[in-house]
């Protein structure tokens, strides 16, 4: 007798969203997570005594509105600081402030126009995020109504804009930035934002689409009150209110299969749990390679799951600072160090060869500037996403981490003189560390690189693109599925909607 109707593996943003949606249909849902607290990448770490930093994600682009409204997260305590402006730092001048399309300087008007155009394109693409990917195969269960709405949205662009949309959709961000802007700071900001969390440089093909994807999730970056962990807390309260059972410290070691159907999971403590449906909201590669294994999967499919590209290029830096860092910018903003398009490209080049870049680029947040309690009184916590870090460093992990930290601090020092002397404690997570702590294969945030060739009906693989997998009873609901990662929840929500539609 199954103890629940549905077992969901992984209580990250997508697992939580999926659990909430399915529990809303009356299914008995158990959500399993390997860690002591739910949330996945939305956690807090006390990396030094008294210093708290966002464990991985430190900002959100915007939760899927179906998730935030459907789970009534505001009622469960989620609220945000006002949208953050971005400060593009220069070593010897005040930072350039950017909020949505608004900025100053010679390119203010051009940037506003470009931002408007990209936002329009993003709005047209946004409905894709909220649907099961269409497939080319017949009988794929297309969501015709949603596809029709998408088509109407595209037509509504008008002939000239539609032509422009087609011209740009697969272009690289460096071309866009240099075609339309002259201010290197804005060119660099676009290049940085498009490639953040990806394995692409600004000149890599198709890099614009990642920026459109980011814009389609929302506008300016958002900082939840209480940090990103507050999203996890609100979602946890919401799923508990919906009747979901959460089992923490429940590491799934195997998906149990009976009569050619996923029938439950085995936990590391030896417990077996049974259910009619098993949903994996963790990494798809891990799901198939480790939890299911080859004996219940076809050879071709099993081999392909091993080749889901999943290289992470982002490192996470946490600094405990004695005093406020001396950036020439508003500390209550998102600080970006990216001097030029070439600088972002040059930060990417070395990782292709397993090397550490001399001058990494980064996005910095000072959580302690927004809220008390992040650091001891008068002291500060700095959280930064530093790119690009090699996921397979030639010189070995320890040496690469040391070199990456040194190079990062050198860059930081030029933008905040004296910062190195203020450091009480420093922690740098390389992609391998992120993989180890958060189960993200290759340290890739999206649980599989988000790139055109791994999007839509190719995400994570053709045979599992519509959340169902070749193994009956096993579904995917994580960032490895369409539309990818970020603190957003669309993949989990879409999976739940698909499961409900298919009456699985």
């Amino acid at each position: 007798m199954p103890s629940s109707d549905v077992l969901i593996i992984g209580a990250g943003v997508n697992g939580l969203a999926c659990a909430a949606k399915l529990a809303g249909t009356g299914r008995r849902v158990t959500l399993l997570d390997a860690n002591p607290t739910p949330g996945g990448g939305m956690g807090t770490t006390e990396f030094a005594p008294g210093f708290h930093a966002p464990a991985l994600a430190h900002l959100v682009s915007g939760l899927d509105p179906r998730v935030s409204d459907g789970m009534d997260l505001a009622r469960h305590g989620l609220s945000y600081h006002p949208p953050l402006s971005t400060s593009v730092l220069s070593p010897d001048a005040p930072a350039l402030s950017v909020l949505n399309g608004k900025t100053t300087g010679p390119d203010a008007a051009a940037f506003a126009a470009l931002h408007r155009k990209l936002t329009d394109f993003a709005r047209v693409l946004a409905p894709f995020r909220a649907m099961t990917p269409p497939r080319l195969a017949g009988q794929a269960g297309q969501e015709w109504a949603k596809l029709a709405r998408l088509g109407i949205g595209l037509r509504a662009l008008g002939r000239a804009d539609f032509r422009e949309f087609l011209r740009m959709i697969l272009i690289n961000i460096a071309d866009v930035a240099t075609d339309e802007l002259t201010d290197p700071r804005l060119q660099a900001l676009l290049s940085f934002d498009a490639t953040l969390g990806s394995w692409l440089g600004p000149r890599s093909p198709n890099s614009l689409i990642l920026l459109l994807n980011r814009l389609s999730m929302g506008g300016a970056p958002l900082l939840p009150k209480g940090g990103v962990a507050a999203v996890a807390q609100a979602m946890t309260k919401a799923v508990e209110a919906a009747g979901v059972t959460i089992r923490s410290n429940a590491q799934v070691t195997q998906i149990l299969i009976e009569a050619d159907r996923a029938a439950g999971v085995a936990l590391a403590d030896g417990t077996n749990l049974h259910a009619d449906l098993v949903i994996s909201a963790i990494n798809p590669r891990t799901t198939f390679q480790t939890l299911v294994g080859p004996r219940h999967l076809d050879s071709g499919f099993f081999a392909q799951t091993r080749h889901i590209r999943s290289r992470g290029g982002a490192a996470k830096l946490h600094l405990a600072l004695r005093t406020a860092p001396g950036f020439n910018a508003d500390l209550r903003s998102r600080l970006v160090i990216a001097p030029s398009v070439d600088a972002v490209e040059r930060a990417f080049n070395p990782v292709k060869y397993g090397d550490v870049p001399d001058h990494p680029v980064m996005e910095i947040l000072i959580p302690s500037a927004f809220e008390p309690g992040q650091a001891p009184e008068g002291q500060h916590t700095l959280s930064a996403i530093v790119q690009f870090a090699p996921h397979a460093p030639k010189i070995g992990l320890e040496a690469a981490r040391k070199q990456m930290l040194e190079n990062t601090l050198t860059v930081l020092e030029t933008h905040a003189p004296g910062l190195r002397a203020q450091i009480l404690h420093a922690e740098l997570l390389m992609p391998q560390d992120i993989e180890f702590r958060f189960g993200m294969v290759g340290g890739n945030w999206h649980h599989g690189e988000l790139a055109v060739e791994q999007m839509l009906f190719l995400r994570p693989l053709r045979q599992a693109a519509q959340y169902a997998t070749p193994l009956p009873g096993l579904w995917l609901a994580g960032a490895g599925s369409h539309p990818g990662g970020g603190i957003n929840g669309a993949a989990g929500w879409n999976a739940a909607e698909r499961i409900i539609k298919e009456r699985a």
């Binding site: 050619d260 294994g293 080859p294 004996r295 219940h296 999967l297 076809d298 050879s299 071709g300 499919f301 099993f302 081999a303 091993r306 045979q463 070749p470 009956p472």
Partner: protein
């Protein structure tokens, strides 16, 4: 870097080449899996006659062979192939098939179980990447051993007698079993298998044993009309036996370019091999769906055609009008005295009602078009009791 001279020898000689070359009075050579193979040594009719009336020797060296060894060998093969490899006992051989994820046939072959953890898989095409991909997660080693093994196929009513004279007692060896025998201080393996549908054996050895063994065997068989045979004669025998050949009767799914060219085991009449209860195997879900939905498109038929003109390559019509299939192999069968064929026919026509074959018969440089009714018949076309008798008859 390796010395890249392989292009100078596009077709390799086999271990028996010194003898086959000497015997090949026509110098009719063909390519088989990268080796030079005799198509006909001198007289196809005499070679065919040796298969059915005496003892024939065919050089099997080019056949692609894989060694599959390790504690998970049986589990690996059960995931790879549609038949139950675990039920094959050591010393046994079975015919088998493997499919891709879509349940489309990649190849057929023979599986030899040398020991609990040790198999050999023989096939027409090369499949190492697929076999290695399939080995992920299994404690098994897969290696191609084609050049490491020399093999002959000794087929014909007198084959057991010749082996007896050569000092190998095979009187108790049943079909699809094998045994090892001493030979000049080492051993060879003899399996009661073949591709002729007749009494026959396949003889497995190391390449250094090849020439001494050839001489020994031919010395033993002289009085029994032993002769080397080429692929042409063998092909005639295999059509009579109703056996299919990869890339002649079907295109392997991984080589098919056109979407409708690949075939499922149902469509090749190989579904009798599928073990639905052994656990998962590659293609199982697709095949189960095909079975449950009756979604097979093709059927393999054995046909009896009037007259004596081979229907090779002909198109099959329903009501003389609509194309519904084609002949993949055909011959005038000397042993059954009829014109026989293997065909792929749209499944809805598998009962064979009102089917016709259009044959272009070449008569002194002019084609004459024949439209002949076909009759579906049983495979094998030729099925002598001596093939199965144990002990084998004393011919």
């Amino acid at each position: 870097m390796k010395d890249l001279t392989h292009y100078k020898t596009p077709l390799l000689p086999t271990a028996f080449h010194a003898r086959t070359e000497a015997a090949n009075t026509l110098h009719r050579w063909g390519a088989w899996a990268g080796y030079r193979t005799a198509l006909c040594y001198g007289d196809e009719a005499m070679e065919y006659t040796a298969i059915r009336n005496a003892a024939s020797v065919y050089d099997l060296c080019p056949m692609v062979k894989y060694r599959i060894q390790g504690p998970d060998a049986a589990a690996y093969l059960n995931r790879l192939t549609i038949r139950n490899a675990a039920r094959l006992t050591p010393g046994g051989v079975h015919y088998t098939v493997w499919c891709d994820d879509q349940g489309r046939v990649l190849d057929d072959g023979t599986l030899f179980r040398h020991g609990p953890d040790h198999y050999m898989l023989c096939s027409q095409e090369r499949h190492l990447p697929w076999l290695l991909d399939s080995a992920r997660g299994f404690d098994v080693e897969v290696a191609e051993i084609t050049p490491d093994i020399a093999a002959l196929s000794l087929q014909g009513p007198c084959s057991a007698t010749v082996l007896g004279i050569a000092g190998f007692d095979v009187s108790t060896l049943k079909p699809f079993r094998m045994a090892t025998h001493p030979f000049q201080g080492a051993t060879i393996t003899i399996s009661r298998t073949g591709f002729t549908g007749d009494l026959g054996y396949e003889l497995w050895m190391t390449p250094d044993q090849a020439l001494p063994f050839w001489d020994h065997l031919f010395a033993a068989g002289t009085a029994y009309g032993i002769r080397p045979i080429g692929t042409d004669a063998l092909n005639l025998a295999r059509i009579e036996a109703g056996f299919i050949i990869t890339n002649m009767d079907f295109i392997p799914a991984d080589q098919a370019v056109r979407e409708d060219r690949s075939r499922s085991p149902f469509e090749l009449a190989l579904d009798w091999m599928i073990d639905w209860d052994k656990g998962h195997f590659t293609g199982r879900r697709a095949l189960k769906s095909e079975r449950d939905n009756g979604s097979s498109n093709w059927a393999l038929l054995a046909l009896d055609i009037p007259g004596n003109v081979s229907a090779e390559g002909s198109i099959i019509y329903h009501a003389k009008k609509h194309e519904v299939g084609h002949i993949t192999a055909a011959a005038w069968s000397p042993s059954t005295k009829r014109s026989i064929a293997l065909a792929q026919v749209q499944r809805k026509h598998m009962a064979g009602r009102d089917l016709w074959v259009e044959i272009y018969a070449l008569r002194e440089l002019q084609y004459v078009k024949l439209m002949l009714p076909v009759t579906v018949c049983e495979r094998p076309f030729f099925n002598p009791a001596r093939k199965r008798a144990t002990p084998p008859g004393a011919f």
